[in-house]
């Protein structure tokens, strides 16, 4: 019988005011998240033979060798490693890569890990990267990164389709309502459209409350075969489809600033593989680095037509009780955003599918779509998860 790869464990670390409780290095917080996910899966660390890592950390010098460093720290000797780093969407791609490796018999238990202590270390800055290679043509102009690139996309989307700042604000307000139901969320006080509109201008048309948080955080996912999951008595989440794509790195090279091409490509493949229609999706968890990211993603995923994202999110459609539950943990906008957020989309989707999401639990979630975006609208990776 063919091997089927399933998700059997999810884990994260407690946050308070956006900082990891008890503090810790970037290696410590990843080890804690890994242990939480493995405990959830009822699988011991010694069984892990596949390690998938992407991060912003590493010992400076030639190469970063993230999986090699973390494997050593965890005391494991993986025979499959993947350090694909396409930005915050890397972890959705890791699920796809791990599924292929497990189904081929290349590994049996895959651990996907991310962690960051950027808030505790105050290591985040808008200045961006050194002006080498392709960046010679980006940051000499003083573009605040990454918000400036997203602002250029937002402005173009508004120009082409009449999208308004108030429509973008709808997303921030709805996401905050979800965060208010999540005790782990960093920002839980309700906000209004006016609060978003009157928040500090950052890079027009994006304002402070259009932007994700800067927090710590760590998360992990464990995958294995369905047979192994049954043997351990683990809860299984099935992986029905996946896809990934990237189109550019420099914002100047984005094919169309008002169109999220990478998400169109990755989601079409995922839907095709899953063999389900949009109607079958009960829940969407999509990367919300900025409000515009969400709006363009919803269009690219095909939940509304191109240019109609602004209309789609109006009247708090994506809020608790709305017709389209979205980013139910409070998202990068209000829950946490430790630099690369994609792993938390997966953690939340699995918790919702299992019915473990507490006050924010969405009723009748059998199929969920998770979509990560990385870089500056550069990469997309989609995963469709289901209970059966």
């Amino acid at each position: 019988m063919a091997r089927e790869a399933v998700i059997v464990g999810v884990g994260d670390v407690p946050l308070k005011d956006g900082k990891v409780v008890g503090g810790g290095s970037v290696l410590q917080v990843q080890a804690r998240a890994a242990k939480a996910a493995l405990d959830d899966a009822r699988i011991p660390m010694r069984d892990v033979d596949g390690l998938l890592v992407a991060g912003m950390w590493g010992v400076p010098g030639p190469g970063q060798l993230a999986s090699v460093t973390l494997g050593e720290y965890l005391g494991i000797h993986p025979r499959f490693a993947d350090t694909t780093n396409i930005g915050g969407s890397a972890f959705e791609a890791h699920v796809a890569h791990a599924a292929m490796a497990i189904e081929k018999g290349y590994c049996d238990v895959a651990l996907i890990v991310y962690g960051s202590v950027q808030k505790s270390e105050r290591s985040r800055a808008l200045g961006g990267r050194p002006s080498i290679l392709t960046m010679q043509f980006e940051n000499v102009w003083g573009i605040p990164q990454p918000v400036g690139g997203y602002a250029l996309a937002a402005r173009r989307h508004m120009h082409e389709f009449g999208t308004t700042e108030e429509q973008l604000a709808e997303i921030a307000v709805a996401t905050r309502k979800w965060a208010s139901l999540n005790p782990a969320a960093t920002m839980r006080d309700p906000i209004t459209i006016d609060d978003v509109m009157n928040s500090t201008k950052v890079s027009d048309p994006l304002k402070l409350l259009d932007c994700c948080l800067v927090t710590d955080g760590a998360g992990a996912i464990v995958m294995t075969t369905a047979d192994n999951a049954r043997a351990h008595g683990a809860k299984m989440t099935h992986i029905r489809g996946y896809g990934e794509a990237h189109t550019h790195w420099s914002i100047g090279a984005m094919p169309d600033l008002a169109r999220l091409t990478a998400a169109e490509m990755s989601s079409q493949r995922a839907f095709q593989m899953a063999g389900v229609s949009h109607d079958a999706i009960d829940l969407v968890e999509c990367y919300d680095s900025f409000t515009i990211t969400v709006l363009m993603t919803l269009e690219a995923l095909g939940f509304c037509k191109r240019g109609e994202g602004g209309q789609f999110v109006m009247n708090q459609r994506t809020a608790p009780g709305g017709a389209f539950p979205l980013n139910t943990n409070g998202g990068g906008l209000s829950y946490c955003h430790p630099g690369m957020y994609g792993i938390f989309l997966l953690v939340e989707a699995v918790r919702q599918l299992r019915g473990e999401a507490g006050d924010r639990q969405v009723k009748k979630v059998d199929t969920a779509l998770v979509h990560g975006t990385g870089g500056t609208l550069s990469s997309g990776a989609t995963v469709i998860l289901a209970n059966s």
Partner: protein, 140 residues
């Protein structure tokens, strides 16, 4: 006598693939690659044409004219070295030759910038070795 103020903003680390662009800028020319195989221009400069992947490329002087494809007004600076410039405009220009490039719009009134505005290159000699091609609004 006071020393001229040092330019502290990010400067490109010029490499062999990009040197012709920066050399031309120092001579106040906007030079971009054109593909002899498909006839299309591209920017930033690459070793292979990103449209047809030919390696048969030549450097050509662009007109320095174009229009604003999108823009943002930075209300927060990209680090302390840009703090004195706030608010300033970063724009993506669609050059008349086709490619888009990121740049600054130099204007006294950042609020008047609009998508579709016609623009013309203006060379800013920021150091004796470095010239940045920025743009001005034709309506200014």
């Amino acid at each position: 006598m006071s020393e001229p103020q040092a330019y502290e903003k990010p400067q490109p680390v010029i490499d062999p693939g990009t040197k012709p662009f920066w050399d031309a800028a120092r001579e106040h020319r906007l030079s971009i690659p054109r593909c002899r195989a498909c006839g299309k221009h591209h920017f930033y400069p690459r070793e292979l044409c990103p449209h047809c992947h030919s390696d048969d490329l030549e450097w050509t002087d662009a007109s320095g004219k174009g229009e604003i494809y999108s823009y943002t007004i930075a209300r927060k600076p990209a680090g302390p070295v840009f703090a004195a410039d706030v608010p300033y405009v970063i724009a993506m220009i669609a050059l008349d030759e086709g490619p888009r490039m990121l740049t600054n719009i130099i204007t006294k009134d950042v609020e008047q910038v609009r998508i579709g505005d016609r623009v013309t290159v203006r060379f800013d000699d920021v150091t004796p070795e470095l010239t940045l091609p920025k743009f001005t609004l034709d309506k200014d």
